[in-house]
């Protein structure tokens, strides 16, 4: 994986533009008769983006410089803003995940009727969401990052608000208001950085690489840290800022929920990795104990609430709250293993959650209910559907051999290196995960046939083919995690090297503040 690509082609921009052009093209295929053409156009665009992502992965040199294929042109010189896009190991992995999931969603919902509005509108919004999220992952200018971060709310807002369930308006507004509050906090932090960079360099800059070299006074750094942290914690979402997620997920279509939880929420953790840690390392170390405690609360709280849910989509949302606790924990214990694990975990979680939502979506579209009590004995009617669901569930509860295990194991290993207590508390999350997942499978898939379930039919070949790659990827990553880890390891090392927390060679009982640690 080290063949370098011709640099004359702006790969990183191209990959953002392809879904965007697809979205525009789909809006032109407006007539009801062109629905089929619109689906193929959207699918083609998402596949092309995936292909470009793979090409980018092949051309990426993990051991090479941190930012590769950098494309940059000035946008607002007065503010020091330039449109610059480049790829790092971390962003490459996120780009791969995004393009895989977008293509999967479009394929998996091929025959799914869109409840309100037009299929074309739905597809255009999905594609523009994909483009904006890809832009966020690839942006190397903080201002551009912020602009895209805010802009990606709009497609999600319309996806929930127009195509969602009965309480869609409420869920959409709740989502938007939470996100806007986070966005405004980030705006304040951004302005703070702008003023600081002007003082430090003599002219303002938003270039992430340049900003990483800037030192600030301790109070300023901490204030700015809070602005970014609020935005990312809402997006991630971290307890106690998570309450928008269950509503948004429950009112979304399965495809929207997949993009929302599988991709969009990763932006929060991604922001922590590429902004909080490199740009504000001292504040990150200072606040790490607080973040770790919140993450631990999230792991347990999300899992306990997931056990108590009666609605499948809400259950998945709460499992995600628990999993995001693990991921954030992996980032903020500042050990190499845990950070690799956290990034890996994001990929594994994205794949398995997508599978859960999409397979459950098949079920729900036939039975017309998201309530767990409406199901029972589905495996008698649709064994393949039940099998696909089981694989996703097993990866979610971290069964060895599936991708979920690697991520969770690495995060826990890293956590134990830092602090035994944190490790022990986090490990209980695994037990709870087994309860909520297996119990769900038991209630929905096995047991006596519930009335109404006899109408459930097996997944079609097309549907199985759409979700199948997810299973394959979960297995592949479960057995060969090195494919992803080799990409992220150098980037994670670089990120950690800038954090003055040291490496935790020997575990300690409570050691959370990294400064004094060995």
């Amino acid at each position: 994986m080290a063949a370098s690509l011709p640099t004359a082609i702006p790969w990183t921009v191209l990959i953002v533009l392809v879904p965007l052009i697809g979205a525009v093209a789909v809006t032109f295929l407006r007539a009801p008769a062109q629905q089929r053409a619109a689906r193929w156009t959207a699918f083609g665009a998402s596949l092309l983006a995936l292909l470009l992502a793979v090409i980018l992965a092949i051309g990426f040199t993990p051991a090479g410089p941190g930012v590769q294929y950098l494309v940059s042109s000035p946008w607002l010189p007065a503010l020091g803003v330039s449109l610059s896009f480049g790829v790092t190991g971390i962003s490459l992995v996120m780009v791969l995940l995004t393009t895989v999931l977008a293509a999967t969603v479009i394929a998996a919902e091929w025959r799914m009727p869109v409840p309100r509005g037009t299929t074309q509108g739905y597809l255009a919004l999905l594609l523009s969401l994909e483009a904006l999220v890809l832009g966020v992952f690839l942006a190397r200018d903080l201002f551009v990052f912020y602009v895209l971060f805010e802009a990606m709310l709009l497609p999600v807002y319309f996806l929930i608000g127009r195509f969602g369930g009965s309480r869609r308006g409420f869920a959409a507004v709740k989502f938007l208001v939470y996100s806007l509050v986070g966005g405004l906090a980030m705006l304040a932090a951004l302005i703070g950085l702008f003023v600081e960079s002007k003082a430090a360099f003599g002219r303002p800059t938003f270039d992430m690489t340049a900003l990483a070299d800037m030192t600030m006074s301790t109070p300023t750094e901490r204030l700015i840290w809070w602005g970014f942290f609020l935005a990312f914690a809402i997006k991630a979402p971290l307890v106690p800022l998570h309450t928008w997620l269950p509503d948004a997920a429950a009112e979304s279509t399965p495809g929207t929920a997949t993009m929302l939880i599988g991709v969009l929420d990763k932006v929060g953790v991604f922001g922590m990795l590429v902004i909080l840690l490199p740009l504000l390392p001292n504040a990150s170390v200072f606040y790490a104990p607080m973040v770790v405690v919140l993450a631990l609360i999230g792991i347990l709280y999300g899992a306990v609430l997931a056990i108590g849910q009666g609605d499948m989509k809400r259950l998945f949302a709460y499992t995600s709250v628990s999993h995001f606790g693990f991921i954030v924990l992996g980032v903020f214990v500042f050990t190499g293993i845990a950070m690799n694990g956290a990034i890996f975990y994001m990929v594994a979680h994205g794949l398995s959650t997508a599978g859960l939502f999409l397979v459950a979506g098949y079920l729900m579209s036939q039975r017309g209910s998201a309530s767990i009590s409406a199901y029972g004995g589905v495996s008698q009617r649709a064994p393949l559907l039940a099998g696909l669901f089981l694989v996703m569930a097993l990866s979610t509860l971290a069964l060895p051999g599936l991708a979920g295990f690697i991520g969770e194991f690495l995060v826990l290993l890293g956590a134990f290196q830092r602090s035994v207590v944190v490790g022990v508390i986090a490990t209980t999350g695994i037990v709870l995960a087994a309860i909520y997942m297996l119990w769900l499978v038991q209630r929905v898939m096995v047991g006596p046939l519930q009335p109404g379930v006899d109408r459930v039919r097996e997944v079609t070949v097309w549907q199985a083919a759409a979700v199948g790659p997810l299973v394959a990827l979960l297995l592949l990553l479960g057995f060969f995690p090195q494919t992803v880890l080799s990409l992220v390891e150098p980037a994670a090392q670089t990120t950690l090297a800038g954090v003055p927390a040291g490496t935790a060679a020997t575990p300690s009982l409570f050691g959370l503040t990294g400064g004094e640690q060995p």
Partner: protein
């Protein structure tokens, strides 16, 4: 006895004002001498060409004339003044386009056929049956625009006051001329007149105190006198306070903006748009000059006041807007909130602050005009659909209009890629650089509240099912389309490619003292 010296007047530099005011006088004569059938088109032609010509002249003056006092020192020719004059003419021109529309209202244009008739009376029915339209609005508009142009360039306190009166008197009349809901409109006019007269008196009193202190009414002289002082002087502080009240009244800042919702609601909608855009631009422009030039040396005295006023204006404007059920009242409170954001930039009190305010004014005024233009198009049989409930489901019946309105609301909310974002970023940055971090935090809280407000309206347009009383969208004439289209286009263009305008405001943002 000293001989009366002849004042040297640079007529070219004065040309924009002269063109507009001469056209206004000609307009009055046209009223008297033109036959009724030709009056409307004649007035429109005159008004439109006068404003366009004045705009061109502003460009020529900016390119060719040296900066400095003109007209014997009563007016000042400088970067901010010319920028604001250009902006006033641009927004006035757009407002005129929307005013001239007579297709959206089946009865004619937005103004009462004969203002003197009794609302609901027999005579009024007769007028509307004959489809009469009055054309006095056009000369009134021109007088008002002339006043606005003087207001932002006035260089002494007396000229400032006279300009204020020239712009206010026609405005009081314009507010009372609505074709629909005439009683509301007349009530608004009376309220505006009484409160406005009081504010003018306060401003005049403040000017008198300033004269008593400094012995001159010229801005430069006052600045000099203030820079020489060694102790705080009650007289001059009282003068600044009273002048501030008078100007903040016109801007509509809390607590001096109580009139804004009633007047904006009652006035004919195109006039509301004109007031919210052009008049506010001029008022902020005058405030900037008064605070920076004559009273710049008293920054430490007026800055805390401005902090409090700005915070209150942002918070109360956004919060109360959230509780409105009438679209025009909602936009009125939103314009109050925006005035608060503008005051953040004013409070920064330096060149960066000034240029950020100029950009904000541009972004805000074009979006506001387009917003009120859109309000004129959404109608029920009895007039405009002012109740927000009637806007349900507009997005499905008229996607283009709903998209345009959403873009404007997103710009008000300060979402990136709209002009409103660059504008807010500018004033916040200026304020932080000037050490006003608390003000920025209040601003961000207020932005969050306001964002919830704008989002609610977008939800209503797109996601709520239409109710039986829902409004329809009248097909507008090309005039309104042009006016609204210009506003929406500028909102997007300034959001994506703001660099040329940012350069412009940076170059123009120095007051000549």
């Amino acid at each position: 006895m000293t001989p009366i010296s002849v004042v040297d007047i640079d007529y070219v530099a004065l040309a924009p004002v002269i063109i507009v005011l001469v056209a206004a006088v000609i307009g009055v004569l046209l009223e008297a001498f033109l036959p009724e059938a030709a009056r409307r088109s004649g007035q429109l032609l005159l008004t439109g060409s006068a404003v366009a010509l004045a705009f061109l002249t502003v460009l020529i003056v900016a390119a060719s004339r040296p900066f400095g006092p003109i007209a014997g020192g009563s007016l000042m020719l400088d970067g901010p003044g010319l920028f604001l004059q250009g902006l006033i003419l641009l927004t006035s021109g757009t407002a005129i386009l929307i005013m001239a529309d007579r297709r959206v209202d089946p009865g004619g244009d937005a103004f009462a056929g004969r203002v003197s008739t009794l609302p609901g009376g027999e005579e009024e029915r007769e007028v509307s049956r004959r489809g009469l339209m009055q054309t006095e609005v056009w000369p009134l508009m021109l007088f008002c625009i002339g006043g606005l142009l003087l207001f932002v360039t006035s260089n002494d306190l007396l000229t400032l006051f006279i300009a204020l009166e020239i712009l206010s008197l026609p405005l009081y009349l314009l507010v009372g001329m609505a074709r629909r809901r005439r009683l509301l409109s007349q009530e608004a006019a009376l309220k505006y007149f009484l409160m406005g007269a009081l504010a003018s008196a306060i401003l005049l009193f403040g000017s008198a105190l300033a004269y008593a202190y400094a012995g001159t009414i010229e801005f430069a002289g006052i600045a000099e006198r203030i820079s020489e002082r060694t102790t705080a002087n009650t007289l001059v502080i009282a003068a600044v306070a009273l002048i501030l009240v008078g100007l903040l009244f016109k801007i509509g800042a809390v607590p001096f903006g109580q009139w804004v919702p009633d007047v904006y609601q009652g006035a004919p909608t195109p006039v509301t748009g004109f007031m919210a855009a052009a008049v506010k631009v001029a008022a902020v422009g005058a405030l900037l000059r008064v605070l920076y030039v004559p009273f710049g040396g008293m920054r430490w005295e007026w800055e805390p006041v401005l902090w409090i006023v700005a915070s209150l204006t942002m918070l109360i404007g956004s919060l109360v807007a959230l509780a409105q059920s009438d679209i025009k009242r909602m936009l009125a409170y939103s314009s109050i909130a925006n005035a608060g954001f503008i005051l953040i930039g004013v409070a920064a009190a330096d060149q960066v602050g000034l240029s950020s305010v100029l950009f904000y004014l541009l972004a805000y005024s074009v979006a506001t005009l387009a917003a009120f233009g859109i309000v004129t198009m959404v109608r029920v049989p009895t007039g405009e659909a002012t109740s927000l409930e009637q806007w349900a489901g507009i997005g499905r019946r008229s996607p283009l209009l709903a998209t345009a309105f959403s873009l404007i609301l997103l710009s008000f909310a300060g979402i990136p890629l709209t002009a409103g974002f660059i504008a807010k970023f500018g004033v916040f940055t200026a304020a932080i650089t000037a050490g006003a971090l608390p003000l920025v935090i209040v601003g961000i809280v207020a932005s969050a509240i306001a964002a919830a407000l704008y989002v609610r309206i977008i939800v209503r347009m797109y996601f709520t099912d239409p109710v039986s009383a829902s409004a329809g969208v009248a097909s507008p004439s090309p005039l309104t389309v042009a006016g609204v289209g210009l506003g929406v286009a500028l909102t997007v263009i300034l959001g994506v490619f703001p660099q040329p305008v940012l350069n412009l405001v940076e170059q123009t943002s120095i007051f000549v003292r």
